[in-house]
């Protein structure tokens, strides 16, 4: 039974080598990105970097930190995610309960998928135009609304999939035991869907916090931490964008520190959502 190198074996070896090469390229790029961010960001990451706002302006000031951008980003993404959640959960439930697989349901899902694919700079431009029409200036509120619009289709579609995967038999099993509709929803359906919904929320939050273009015109940038919704807010992606292009190493340091913090937040969210979903879905139908 010695192995002879027939054509099919050679083809398999070539395809396998191609797959491994692709994997190596992608894994290598990811490694390089992480290495760049960590090697440049870590030395810059001092306590004063985390606890102070930039001193002397974010373009030129050579002292201070990125607290303005950290807090600003958390405000923006947190607010945007909250508003997106308030709207997307009812939309997802409506889609499933009333539209289902009807042609209207199909159109709504198509629209949401198109919205998901629209580049965030378009959301930023749209938000800017709306703000101009309303007489608003770049502000925390403007950024939150724009991020909510950006996150809404992501969250709605993710939740829609979760609800659609809910087995009908599960509801019937609970009804057969004499449950009321409310008990079915609160004790059974929620338990089945919670891991997916948590994942959808965190997915949207991760997308929102990392987006630069949506907040560029709408939230603006500032050295200060906003104390009201009408003040402009800084954000980590824009902190990288504005400060990396400056010729002063002290300013660039703030950009690298921002990039590292942003990476850590996004990483923590994706690991955290996996962990939470894993814990919650222990009992769930898969």
């Amino acid at each position: 039974m010695k192995k002879h190198w027939h054509r099919r074996h050679i083809v398999e070896a070539i395809v396998k080598a191609l797959m491994m090469l692709s994997f190596a390229i992608v894994a290598g790029s990811l490694g390089l990105i992480l290495w760049t961010v960590i090697s440049r960001g870590l030395p810059a990451l001092t306590w004063s970097m985390l606890s102070q706002t930039p001193k002397g302006g974010f373009y030129l000031g050579k002292e201070g930190g990125i607290l303005n951008a950290i807090i600003g980003s958390l405000y923006l993404a947190g607010g945007g995610t909250l508003i997106a959640l308030i709207f997307s959960l009812p939309i997802a439930l409506y889609l499933e309960t009333y539209l289902g697989d009807s042609s209207w349901g199909h159109y709504v899902r198509l629209a949401l998928d198109v919205l998901w694919g629209i580049p965030s700079i378009v959301y930023g431009a749209f938000g800017f135009i709306v703000m101009l029409a309303l007489g608003l200036r770049a502000s925390l509120l403007g950024g939150i609304i724009t991020l909510a619009l950006l996150e809404l289709p992501i969250m709605t579609r993710a939740m829609d999939e979760v609800i659609r995967r809910m087995p009908v038999e599960l509801e019937q099993a609970a009804l057969a035991l004499g449950s009321t509709r409310l008990e079915v929803a609160a004790r059974v359906v929620t338990r089945q869907m919670l891991p997916g919904i948590v994942t959808a929320i965190l997915l949207a939050f991760g997308r929102g916090i990392g987006d630069a273009a949506a907040v560029l015109f709408t939230a603006g940038f500032t050295d200060r931490i906003p104390t009201s919704l009408m003040q402009p807010a800084a954000s980590l992606p824009l902190a990288v964008f504005f400060q990396l292009g400056m010729p002063y190493p002290e300013v660039q340091k703030r950009a690298y520190a921002s990039a590292l913090i942003l990476t850590i937040i996004v990483l923590a969210i994706s690991l955290g959502s996996r962990w939470i979903a894993g814990r919650l879905s222990k009992y769930v139908w898969k």
Partner: protein, 251 residues
């Protein structure tokens, strides 16, 4: 006959298609009644009228009466959750709730508040798992996910879960059709053990299972009840030509 369920002039429609045609039968108390017939004859539809499950399907219309303990369960001010508490259902495929084994059995007692404290819950969960013949296999892992059980164990868990609600009647919608032969035997054995305490109605399309289980038989064909009577009479001396044909394997 001591009838536990009485069906009077029952008709059921899916949209414009008539699925049940003028059904008039009685289901004897504390015996196993088997509803048999070729597929599509309305067996499951009839079964689902007994716990008001048919109305969960869109566009169904039901006319006539189903009396449980002399009370028409289709009357206006009937509490449907109370009907389903009295009339338990063992479905075709087991579907444990997304909870632990313990919580699955305790669920019905929780929602109907039939137990007062933890110890009562604990001993009741154990009792019903024993009745369903599952306790020995799961006693060391009551807190494990119910979905981790094998499908045969899941069906016995569903039996325990249904019994924990303290029904008077158990409905079985081809309860062994998704199971392997050994698991099917388990379930059949449990149903035979339980028939002294519960009125049991089983839908099946296998004649051999019907003969193993039935005390009373209802034979349906094309939405009508062709023949109903004690198992011995129907199997040994069917009155109707269509019943005879079915028993001889002609459908």
């Amino acid at each position: 006959m001591d009838a536990h369920i009485q069906v009077r002039n029952l008709n059921a429609y899916y949209g414009s298609a008539q699925a049940l045609k003028d059904i008039n039968i009685q289901i004897p108390a504390k015996q196993i009644t088997v509803i048999m017939g070729p597929s599509g004859c309305g067996k499951t539809t009839l079964l689902k009228t007994f716990n008001r499950f048919l109305e969960l399907t869109d566009d169904t219309v039901i006319t006539g009466e189903v009396l449980v303990d002399g009370q028409n369960i289709y009357e206006k001010d009937i509490d449907v959750t109370e009907v389903r508490k009295r009339v338990g259902l063992l479905a075709q495929r087991p579907f444990p709730l997304p909870m632990s084994i313990y919580e699955n059995v305790a669920y019905g007692m929780h929602i109907h508040r039939t137990k007062n404290n933890r110890d009562e819950y604990r001993s009741a969960v154990r009792h019903y798992l024993e009745v369903a013949g599952l306790y020995e296999e799961v006693k060391t892992r009551l807190m494990s996910p119910a979905t981790s059980l094998s499908i045969g164990q899941q069906q016995r868990l569903c039996l325990a879960r249904g019994l924990a609600v303290e029904p008077e009647i158990i409905l079985g919608d081809e309860p062994t059709s998704a199971l392997d032969p050994i698991s099917s035997q388990h379930i059949e054995g449990r149903l035979l053990d339980l028939k002294k305490q519960y009125t049991t109605v089983i839908v099946t399309h296998t004649l051999r299972q019907a003969k193993r289980l039935a005390d009373y038989v209802i034979f349906m064909y094309l939405g009508e009840v062709v023949e109903a009577g004690p198992a011995k009479e129907v199997f040994n001396d069917p009155k109707q030509a269509r019943t005879r044909a079915y028993l001889e394997g002609q459908f």
